[in-house]
Symmetry: C2
Subunit: 357 residues, 2 copies
């Protein structure tokens, strides 16, 4: 349980001391750079420095924390720092942070001098079980999430349980939403274990199982032509809610909170269109509302949400395309949903009686 093989790179668990040192020292790289944000500089870099025996022969690139940094402007900033540091094609970029750092750093590296190697050391639960595995890099434009990016695999991923203790509970729960999704789309027994677990303190074993599920899917379909789309369950509506909230709320939804709300809406659509049994739907709704509470979606914002969904990357020929559950543990891709159906799912969510987030 300390290593998984992905497409063409290893995912290491809790073994940064041995394997990261081996990786850097094997002689393949002329230099290395570490990308952090202001939080991971403080809370995670000292841990990595210590594991690297306090060597200091690298340059540090730090960005602001938060989704607001996942822009082309910050990417240009990284490119220019790599230029200033005389990074060459044999340089290595180590992305130490959450999904913003790994997505942005991966994109910057995959395009710098037409591609330098990079590795991820994800420091949030969300990036450990989701962003760091599968080779998606990306930046946002005008709050359209990951609208620009590449499919480029890292050379290695290092998942360290130790970092989870640095996170606020809300961030851990955010990552947990993707883990719950992994159960819903691919493994009912995993879902059954998860839903009664301590969702603020996931064990090594649960994280490992989530990465195994995600890795299996992306390895089968690296560039999202087919089966990989099951990972988008909850994300058509969830991404729209996340973008909307980022633009309109002073304390925006986390990714996991948005995806949890999206999964509830899409469980409704799954029941409507893909045969998800009513009992399964109710179980999903109860579990997710129980963990994440409820986000107030007013009728006045349906049009704006629909407009965001129209820009979703999975759409084809102008039609909104969702991945829906046929039952807990099974997901079907390429379900075209009409504007009315999507609107109904939002109304369904709005009608649920629960405490607000």
């Amino acid at each position: 349980m300390n290593q998984i093989q992905s497409i063409n790179y290893p995912i290491y668990f809790n073994s940064v001391t041995t394997h990261l040192n081996n990786f850097i020292n094997e002689g393949k790289y002329s230099r290395f750079f570490i990308l952090t944000d202001e939080h991971t500089s403080t809370h995670c870099l000292p841990y990595i420095r210590e594991k690297l025996n306090n060597r200091d022969d690298f340059d540090l690139i730090e960005i602001n924390a938060g989704e607001e940094s996942k822009t082309i402007d910050f990417c240009i900033g990284i490119w220019k720092m790599l230029i200033d540091f005389d990074a060459d094609r044999s340089s290595l970029l180590i992305n130490l942070g959450g999904g913003v750092v790994t997505d942005l750093g991966g994109f910057a590296a995959s395009t710098f001098k037409r591609g330098i190697d990079f590795i991820h050391i994800p420091t949030t639960l969300l990036s450990q079980v989701d962003a760091s595995v599968g080779g998606k890099t990306g930046i946002d434009i005008d709050n359209l999430k990951n609208i620009i990016g590449t499919f480029t695999q890292p050379k290695a991923v290092f998942i360290e349980h130790a970092f989870l203790s640095t996170l606020p509970a809300r961030q851990v729960k955010s990552g947990m939403a993707e883990m719950l999704k992994h159960g819903l789309i691919a493994d009912a027994s995993y879902w059954n274990v998860l839903k009664i677990s301590d969702l603020e303190n996931p064990t090594d074993q649960l994280i490992y199982q989530s990465v195994v599920i995600k890795n299996k899917v992306v390895t089968e379909d690296p560039s999202e032509r087919g089966i990989r789309k099951i990972l988008n369950f909850g994300h058509t509506i969830g991404h729209a809610l996340e973008s909307y909230s980022l633009d309109n709320d002073s304390n925006p939804l986390t990714h996991g909170e948005a995806i949890a709300a999206g999964m509830i809406c899409e469980a409704y659509l799954s029941h409507l269109k893909a045969g998800l049994p009513a009992g399964d739907m109710q179980e999903i709704v109860d579990t997710l509302l129980g963990v994440y509470g409820k986000y107030p979606i007013h009728e006045s914002c349906y049009t704006a949400l629909n407009a965001i969904m129209k820009k979703d990357k999975k759409n084809q020929g102008g039609k909104i395309n969702c991945s829906l559950l046929t039952k807990i543990g099974e997901c079907r891709i390429d379900n075209i949903c009409t504007d009315d159906e999507l609107c109904d799912s939002l109304k369904y969510y709005a009608s649920l009686q629960y405490a607000q987030v």
Copy 2:
């Protein structure tokens, strides 16, 4: 002589009518977009429209002509237009233009929604024999040429001799520099034919041969780990001259003029370091100066040129790395050149007695 197979796509010669229509109509694409610049909109788009039976079910994206457009700002502009036009992952981008359009359009497409398909219809000799073949996409930052980009293969390339009649003689000669380079690095008999050809009116056959040479090299080594670097002969110094001239001259050097001067300097280095016979060096110098004249390089700009070379993508561990000729028709990669040697080659060029460009 109307088709070559490249890495995983065809290069068609003078057969846009049949093959472009087939390509668009085979049902793979939801929509298509044509990227042009103000020149190709006027001089080349009507030709393509006619070949496409005047269909108008596409959107046009036009950029300003010239290297100044090969920036991240223009790339963002293309991304935003694709977003506004609701381009989806099944969209096709057709790049109709010279190297700026094909490099920039290729980069924009390869990163939009993590990559949509694109094809090139190169309209300059330079882009026909060089930029459009081999899957390099790129943009400049701070005049560092192609410092950002990807290796992404187009789905097809269409080379149409008809476009050459739309070009000023200086542009044709610019492309010819790359053809001459192909002879120098890989085929002495081709060089011997070329150097006595009408360099302002290259025949179909000569263009075809040049594409065959370039294609053979890039197919062997798509991501430039080894042999592909021979294509960089003349480009370490040539790119520096091109960047410098773009920043400092009211009428900057064309790419071909800069590369011709770069090839003379690097022929000198080849003689010094790689065994290029003196007679071969003299033949290269005489031929290139005869065609391109001489660019005045003052001693005062050696430092600036050296600083640009220090940023060259081929460098490793801070050392400037050139591809040099061992004789006409053969090239050796990975020759580390010192600052003094590079400076000497510029002095050698400056000492040559010829009319100025």
